[in-house]
């Protein structure tokens, strides 16, 4: 039972919210509370299930429930090893090499947990604010979680694309149906921006798969296999751009950020929380998982430029946040600023930078999520978000003020809170990027890292400015407006939604090692792999990195030895006619001779399998 659970844990994480969605579909709409309870329960169950990804948690379960049958053989995931864990690999559309392949590693682990934690919280936070069409609202959240988790899990580019697009529809509906007055404009803008980017990415994926087919004679969308394709410089640049634009729109990176304030301001609270906390992370995650490792030359060539855009985003977002009258818009622009830090950290190419970026993704999710929930709390009471409408709230709603200020401090990056850890590590990494030693000294930001860091540091000061400005106007001073007297302080529901986030704000701030232990080995692999592939790519040719790992598919039932890929490629390559023949290979078992994911492979440092 439990061995089965370990093998299918990722599938289970997708199936539980799916079952929840089906369940909600059959519940009568006259029972809004039952629907809310059921869907929050399903999402919470999924969160509990996702905790099984953590070895420490599994050990705890075993300690507590050791007597129960099956608990003992739950897998203890070891995130210090290379490769992906909990891998599922089933063929889906065999004739074109599309498979249902999922896995997690130290890079995606915390983002997965962030998703499973925040989705129930976001739905819970809109318990009272969403009164119409509760059934559809819950349905959208459940499906949204399927799409987001699937995108984080997918190790097949096609599958990734499907999930990537899939999460667009629920979000579009959440903004468009339950949003503010200008919701339709915001929803359509959000949808179209993302769609344009992702369609270009689809073309890039097709080109990449075509190149792979040219080299081996068969198709696959397997990320691990495609990782071994080494492309010439020009192709790398174009493909990287196609991927990076899709992801940069999602992040959103300056100058693609204009959809974000619209979408955030119009979205209902729960939608804003998910949008900021999880969906934006998919952009940075995509860069880290797909764009950078697959096209290292281009990533290095364009990376510093993207880092500059990140820095511009930091400062520009902060200035925009400063002048906002609408609190929600302020938080939205602060997102642009914080996401700029993450981009800077990633392209610094130092362990501190990338670890900082990963931790900052989680931080931003937690802090901004909490901020949006808190903004929702006051909006529900006053039906305005105009900063000038408030003042002296600390007297009326003391607990609310305490929580808001804690979260605001974490957003600024006060030491002791999570924001400090992330931003400090990122700036440390960017600074160190100027002084990378060794044969690959060109990797990273180069000498400009120092300048990047200096400018980015002003972003922290600006963050203090705009956040404290807002806090000052909202909470201190006399209660100037009559409407603000007698506002109710936090209800237990609001407490319950915010409390876990406050816990994580301090946990990450005080003891970040808990989180870095899992991501650090993955980041080390990522960097060494990036450098090796970078060195391999420098001869500017189209070739396969580990040709012996890619064998042509063998037809089921036939006892034919798998031909080495090169021989197959030679046999297939010459004429178009024969290429067609390769294209139309009948459904067959894909036997990629890749190392098993759990393969320890210590000697395979910097190979296609690692990261």
């Amino acid at each position: 039972m439990s061995a089965w659970l370990s093998e299918n844990l990722l599938t289970a994480l997708l199936v539980v919210p799916m079952l929840g969605a089906i369940g909600v579909l059959f519940m009568p709409r006259q029972w809004p509370n039952a629907i809310r309870r059921f869907s929050v329960a399903m999402l919470t169950v999924n969160f509990g299930l996702s905790l099984l990804l953590l070895p420490d948690f599994v050990e705890l379960v075993q300690y507590v429930l050791g007597r129960l049958p099956g608990v003992e053989d739950l897998t203890l995931a070891d995130y210090s090893q290379q490769g992906y864990l909990f891998v599922v690999d089933e063929p889906w559309i065999e004739s074109v090499g599309i498979s249902y392949k999922l896995g997690v590693d130290g890079i995606s682990l915390w983002l997965v947990l962030l998703t499973t934690l925040l989705t129930p919280i976001a739905l819970f936070a809109s318990w009272t604010s969403v009164k119409t069409k509760v059934k559809e609202y819950a349905l959208a959240f459940l499906l949204l979680e399927v799409g987001m988790l699937g995108a984080f899990f997918a190790l097949d580019l096609f599958l990734f694309y499907v999930f990537w697009e899939l999460m667009l529809v629920p979000m579009y509906l959440i903004v468009g149906v339950w949003g503010g007055p200008n919701r339709v404009y915001a929803a359509v803008k959000f949808f179209l921006y993302t769609m344009v980017g992702s369609l270009l990415m689809l073309v890039a994926i097709l080109y990449l798969v075509g190149s792979y087919e040219e080299l081996t004679g068969f198709y696959t969308f397997d990320l691990v296999a495609l990782h071994d394709v080494i492309l010439p410089f020009d192709a790398q640049v174009l493909l990287f751009l196609a991927f990076a634009v899709a992801f940069a729109i999602k992040v959103p990176m300056f100058p693609f950020h204009t959809w974000l304030p619209d979408a955030h301001v119009q979205a209902p609270t729960g939608g804003s929380v998910i949008l900021a906390a999880v969906m934006l992370k998919l952009g940075t995650y995509g860069l880290l998982r797909f764009a950078m490792p697959m096209f290292p030359l281009a990533s290095q060539f364009l990376g510093p430029t993207i880092a500059v855009l990140g820095v511009i985003g930091i400062v520009y977002g902060a200035y925009c946040a400063w002048v906002q009258k609408d609190v929600k818009k302020l938080v939205a622009y602060s997102s642009v600023s914080h996401m700029g830090f993450i981009a800077l950290g990633m392209f610094a190419m130092t362990p501190q930078g990338i670890n900082g970026a990963i931790i900052q993704m989680v931080n931003h999710g937690v802090s901004t999520g909490a901020l949006f929930i808190l903004v929702g709390v006051i909006y529900e009471r006053r039906h305005t978000r105009d900063i000038d409408e408030f003042g002296g709230l600390a007297k009326v709603m003391p607990w609310y003020a305490v929580l808001f200020i804690i979260v605001a401090m974490s957003s600024i990056g006060l030491p002791g809170t999570n924001g400090f850890i992330g931003e400090f590590m990122i700036m440390n990494g960017a600074f160190a990027s100027s002084f990378i030693e060794g044969p690959f000294d060109i990797v990273g930001l180069g000498r400009w890292g120092v300048v990047h860091t200096l400018v980015a540091a002003t972003g922290v000061i600006l963050a203090a400015l705009y956040m404290l400005h807002a806090v000052l106007k909202m909470f201190w001073g006399p209660v100037s407006k009559k409407e603000n007297e007698g506002l109710r302080d936090m209800t237990w529901r609001e407490w319950a939604a915010v409390a876990p986030l406050i816990l994580f704000i301090f946990w990450i701030g005080v003891h970040p090692t808990t989180f870095l232990d899992a991501s650090a080995p993955a980041v080390d692999n990522f960097i060494s792999d990036f450098r090796t592939k970078f060195a391999e790519s420098r001869d500017d040719s189209l070739r396969l990195w580990h040709p012996d790992r890619h064998t042509a598919p063998v037809e089921e039932g036939e006892e034919v030895e798998a031909e080495p890929a090169e021989a197959a490629a030679e046999a297939e390559a010459p004429s178009d006619g024969q290429r067609e023949a390769a294209n139309v290979l009948p459904p067959s078992e894909r036997t990629l001779a890749l190392a098993a994911p759990s393969h320890p492979a210590p000697s395979l440092n910097a190979t296609g399998e690692n990261r």
């Binding site: 889906w92 559309i93 065999e94 004739s95 074109v96 069409k133 694309y161 499907v162 697009e165 899939l166 529809v169 579009y172 509906l173 468009g176 149906v177 919701r183 339709v184 929803a187 359509v188 949808f191 179209l192 769609m195 344009v196 369609l199 270009l200 689809l202 073309v203 097709l206 080109y207 798969v209 075509g210 087919e213 178009d576 006619g577 290429r579 067609e580 294209n583 139309v584 009948p586 459904p587």
Partner: protein, 491 residues
């Protein structure tokens, strides 16, 4: 396999057409003509599917059948698409005509005969059978457009289509004559062989080819030969529009592919005439114009007309790729047309179900708030437009994916990029349907369209919706069949 089984779908069309005519003339009470017709067409499609799965026609077909008509898997694949589209259209008509007081038996007869023509067209391997099939198909459609006799718009659309269609047919015929004059053959294979051997009169062939391509481009409504499309689609009763936009288009593309790949598939013709480049230009124009023009429409029917123009552009992208890489691209075209057939039938069906007696839903405004009032009626429309948009995991997504994949593999990356950007534009107007249904409320004094209750329409929606999802979730089987059909087409 019996030879009779191979030609059974054609015979079934003819016999049931005559039968319905008689029944309509003599039956006092209105018989359930829609049921009989749709079942007949579905059976014809099922027989074709069976023949397709069994590996095609026997080798010993009598010469009288093989001289002008092919019985290859390619033809049978298109039979399936044409019959699926026609059968769904008839089901829609069963609800629509009765609801709007237009129930007259000749509609079904016209569909059956037109469908017969379409199937002939998909099988045509000779310029003569091509022309006969094309005219048989078109005459039925002209009459179908004018079916609502009292409506000026319907008559205008029919006249426009009839006049322009006659011109196009004349041009096509003239082109055929020139091809015959240049090569001495009327069959595609013979024309192809003459050109390959270099014995053909090249100037005549080039001019003839150009005219044939123009004639066919008119039928598939490629820009700039699309002028008739919006008016004809708008004027026609919606089930007829459905039939035109799916079955007729599929058949026209079938013969388009055959002419291009069999008669003009020779390398020397491609380089000499550059038809792949010309079609690539048409494809770009069609995709861009179709999508941009669709944005500004106020009527959903017109929007769907322009969207079907845009979809013709995507299919032509596959055709251009086929010039380079052959079978894989042709299979993409086949799959795309099948996916488009079910998706478009679903979208038009959803439009049909939105209106009932007294008020037909035509404009966006008619759909305001339908999603809130009647979510179950709105759901098929959502799936339909998402599939037309090319959203995973629907049929339309895999269709687009295969076509653009073919273009990328053929080295036409730019064409794929134009295609995806055009379809991103398309997302805007498809989304608008969802926007008005779910995010807008009707105005105070607005006459609300009430969804119709009809078993026929519900069946059509359920069938096409299931097909859209099935092709989206499990495209593998149909793709394998399409690849096999494409390979046999090229020999």
């Amino acid at each position: 396999m019996s030879m009779w089984l191979v030609i059974a779908p054609l015979l079934l069309m003819l016999v049931s057409g005559l039968f319905i005519m008689l029944v309509d003339a003599f039956a006092k009470e209105r018989a359930e003509l829609a049921l009989v017709t749709s079942v007949a067409i579905a059976v014809a499609g099922a027989i074709s599917l069976g023949v397709l799965v069994q590996g095609g026609a026997p080798a010993d077909m009598p010469e009288v059948l093989t001289r002008y008509l092919a019985s290859d898997p390619f033809a049978h694949f298109f039979d399936v698409a044409i019959c699926a589209g026609a059968s769904l259209s008839v089901l829609l008509a069963g609800g629509y005509l009765r609801e709007h007081g237009l129930e007259r038996g000749e509609f079904y007869v016209l569909v059956l005969f037109s469908c017969f023509g379409a199937m002939i067209l998909a099988r045509a391997i000779d310029l003569l059978s091509l022309f006969v099939g094309l005219e048989t198909m078109s005459l039925g459609v002209y009459a179908m457009i004018a079916f609502r006799r009292t409506s000026a718009r319907a008559v205008e659309g029919a006249m426009k289509y009839f006049l322009l269609g006659s011109f196009a047919a004349a041009i096509l015929l003239f082109g055929s004559a020139l091809l015959y004059a240049g090569t001495g053959h009327t069959d595609f294979v013979g024309i192809g062989e003459m050109i390959a051997s270099g014995d053909a009169e090249n100037r005549l062939v080039l001019v003839g080819m150009l005219m044939v391509v123009v004639g066919l481009a008119f039928k598939v409504s490629a820009v700039p030969f699309h002028m008739w499309t919006p008016d004809a689609y708008e004027g026609a009763v919606t089930p007829a529009t459905t039939f035109m936009s799916v079955s007729v288009k599929a058949a026209a593309f079938a013969v388009f592919v055959r002419v291009c790949m069999v008669a003009l598939g020779d390398e020397s013709v491609m380089t000499a005439s550059g038809w792949p480049t010309a079609i690539a230009g048409l494809a770009v124009l069609t995709m861009v114009y179709g999508n941009v023009a669709a944005i500004v429409q106020k009527s959903i029917k017109r929007m769907l007309a322009y969207s079907s123009i845009a979809h013709a552009g995507y299919v032509m992208v596959g055709l251009v790729a086929a010039a380079e890489i052959g079978a894989p691209a042709i299979s993409a075209v086949l799959f795309y047309l099948l996916a488009y057939t079910v998706s478009n039938a679903l979208a038009f069906g959803s439009l049909v179900v939105m209106g009932s007696r007294g008020k037909e839903a035509v404009h966006y405004d008619d759909l305001r708030g339908v999603g809130r009032r009647h979510p179950m009626a709105a759901l098929p429309f959502v799936i339909g437009v998402l599939s037309l948009m090319g959203f995973p995991p629907t049929a339309g997504f895999f269709g687009k994916y295969y076509v653009f994949n073919a273009a990328v593999q053929a080295g036409d990356v730019w064409l794929a990029i134009v295609g995806v950007l055009a379809s991103a534009v398309g997302a805007y107007y498809y989304l608008r349907v969802i926007v008005v249904m779910f995010m807008q409320e009707p105005e105070e004094d607005q006459v609300l369209a009430v969804p119709m209750k009809s078993g026929y329409v519900a069946t059509a929606l359920a069938a096409s919706g299931a097909a859209v999802m099935a092709l989206g979730m499990m495209p593998g089987w149909f793709l394998d069949v399409a690849i096999e059909a494409a390979r046999q087409l090229l020999g």
